[in-house]
Amino acid sequence: MGALLEVEHLTTEFVTRGGVVRAVDGVSWDVREGETVALVGESGCGKSVSALSVMRLVAAPAGRIVAGRVRFKGRDLRALSDEEMRRIRGREIAMIFQEPMTSLNPVLSIGRQLTEGLEIHLGMTPGEARRRAAELLAMVGIPDAERRLRQYPHQFSGGMRQRMMIAMALACNPSLILADEPTTALDVTIQAQILELMKALSRRLGVAMLIITHNLGVVARYADRVNVMYAGRIVERGTARELYANPRHPYTLGLLRSVPRLDEPRRARLDPIEGQPPDLTRLPAGCAFAARCAFRVERCARDRPGLVGVGAGDHVSACWETERLDRALATR
């Protein structure tokens, strides 16, 4: 399968009172046709800004893409005119956000919000758009579509609103959906419903997905490939199976070890990652994770490690001490 979206050396900065923050620092990743890729990391690691940069939705003048290329189906998105970019958004690449209420218009009916895109992007007549909207609601599991189309967002529950966002995202048959923490605001049983729905629809319609999340369990259940981000950089990438079975970066290993798991015997004590995430305005010259890392050596503070191949299936990690990490894992 060919690459649908290729991000190369993307760098996005924000001007803040504390100084310039490089939220995304030279990251490269891609999404192939029909697959589900995850960007995983904690708050401030740059995962959401990466997606916003792809869509060219980083708020100027504070935020700015300063370098890199974003190629979608071979076209350089950064070189497109605003008008051309608008046609890409919604029609070819759709986005789903964490809190649907903030991305739905509270004074427009559900029906109008669904038909608007169909009329603008696909040139449908109001009648055609209305029929398609009803179809979309049924597809995402909202029963009684005719009545629901006349309602407003506040009359929908959180789970229903997220279904509605998925319907809007699917409206113009996009080839890629960027989902930013799509289920974080939802309850556990509703989260399970929404994720199952997204998985089923992406399979059926062949839509590729980028899932942005901090939840390692969600990634394990739904992603084919995973990029782990820390302080604006990708520190490890691999297929989900390879990365979870054989983590090759101390941060990934730390994350996996710090969460209690229902499938394992209860541990007497959790293994946290010590310390705090770094201040992005004062990043060290070397590895940003060094200060919290159990495997750090002198070199880590000085030299920044690049991503290098560490195993099967394009598994890469940015760590000087990968081999020592391996030995530690083997003796666990």
Partner: protein, 326 residues
């Protein structure tokens, strides 16, 4: 831990909220937030209280803290019914019932330094009236929660999320509490920080003999920290058991669905696991279903479930479930 008089007993707790029509003449009604809930917490134990939003777990905690007045039922602390206490007695009891909130940022005064925030209850409740000794006590408390002396001069916005939660814990600890209601204490924190705070709560429990009511929706975290676990759904307690029994052998279909919905960070295992995905959504507590409140979403419901409200029964010693099929 069992045996002897429990530290806290909740008996048939009911909390209804009345909704008026309001300016625009909306729907009037009664929200049954907590509907006949009973449990006990023993000295030194952690009782986990889990459920999804709107299940009544937070309201239950607020009733225990006397932040809400129960509609019916009793809350007994060290055997005394809190509703019968006079103002002064209640004040003394409330000191020993503390709370840690989900979002420390909204519960810390942004204009006060960390030192002032922790010192305030010590002064107001005359726990340490002498200012010099108070200063020393603040330093000691900051040490207990893993903060440094210089943090006392900082303001909440200068701290990270994990450090702010440590301040919230120090403030609760200042009152020398017996019971702490931990209301989603780690759910707003980053994954790498959650484990730090959970370890801290466990260390403090051992050191100071604390008792916790741990209210949360994350079932993996609750399993780690709790001795016993109570599961709520739509204002009702549906299951209550020892940690091991509840997680290894859940008896209520809602508990089973909840456990199955938690994704496990292992792709290999996830691909083999069977998932129970519940249909529908939690009904409105304004108009809960008749019979068992879970029956509209229950995968094993039978006719009888629509008619009769199932009682919380002790199915095995110490393992309670409110399901006629359990």
């Amino acid at each position: 831990m069992t045996g002897g008089r429990p530290l806290l007993e909740v008996r048939n707790l009911v909390k209804y909220f009345h909704i008026s029509g309001g300016l625009f003449g909306g729907r009037e009604g009664v929200v049954r937030a907590v509907d006949d809930v009973s449990f006990a917490i023993h000295r030194g134990e952690t009782l986990g209280l889990v459920g999804e939003s709107g299940c009544g777990k937070t309201t239950t905690g607020r009733c225990i803290l006397q932040l809400e007045r129960p509609t019916h039922g009793q809350i007994l602390f060290e055997g005394r019914d809190l509703a019968t206490l006079g103002r002064e007695e209640l004040r003394a009891v409330r000191r020993r019932l503390q709370v840690i909130f989900q979002d420390p940022y909204s519960s810390l005064n942004p204009r006060m330094t960390v030192g002032q925030i922790v010192a305030e209850p010590l002064a107001v409740h005359r726990i340490v009236p002498d200012p010099v000794k108070r200063e020393a006590r603040v330093q000691e408390l900051l040490g207990h929660v893993g903060l440094l002396p210089q943090h006392a001069r900082r303001y909440p916005h200068q701290l990270s999320g994990g450090q702010r939660q440590r301040v919230g814990i120090a403030r609760a600890l200042a009152m020398e509490p017996a019971l702490i209601v931990c209301d989603e204490p780690v759910s707003a924190l980053d994954v790498s920080i959650q484990a730090q705070i959970i370890n801290l709560l466990e260390d403090l429990q051992r050191e100071f003999g604390l008792t916790y009511l741990f209210v949360a929706h994350d079932l993996s975290v609750v399993r780690h920290i709790s001795d016993r676990v109570a599961v709520m759904y739509l204002g009702k307690l549906v299951e209550l058991a020892d940690r091991k029994a509840l997680y290894d052998d859940p008896l209520h279909p809602y508990t089973r669905a909840l456990l199955s919905a938690v994704p496990i960070p292992d792709p290999e295992l996830e691909s083999r696991r069977e998932h129970i995905v519940l249909g529908g959504e939690v009904p409105s507590p304004l108009n809960p279903p008749a019979g068992c409140v879970f029956h509209p979403r229950c995968p094993i419901a039978i006719d009888r479930c629509r008619a009769a409200v199932p009682e919380l029964r002790e199915i095995r010693p110490g393992h309670w479930a409110a399901c006629i099929l359990a």
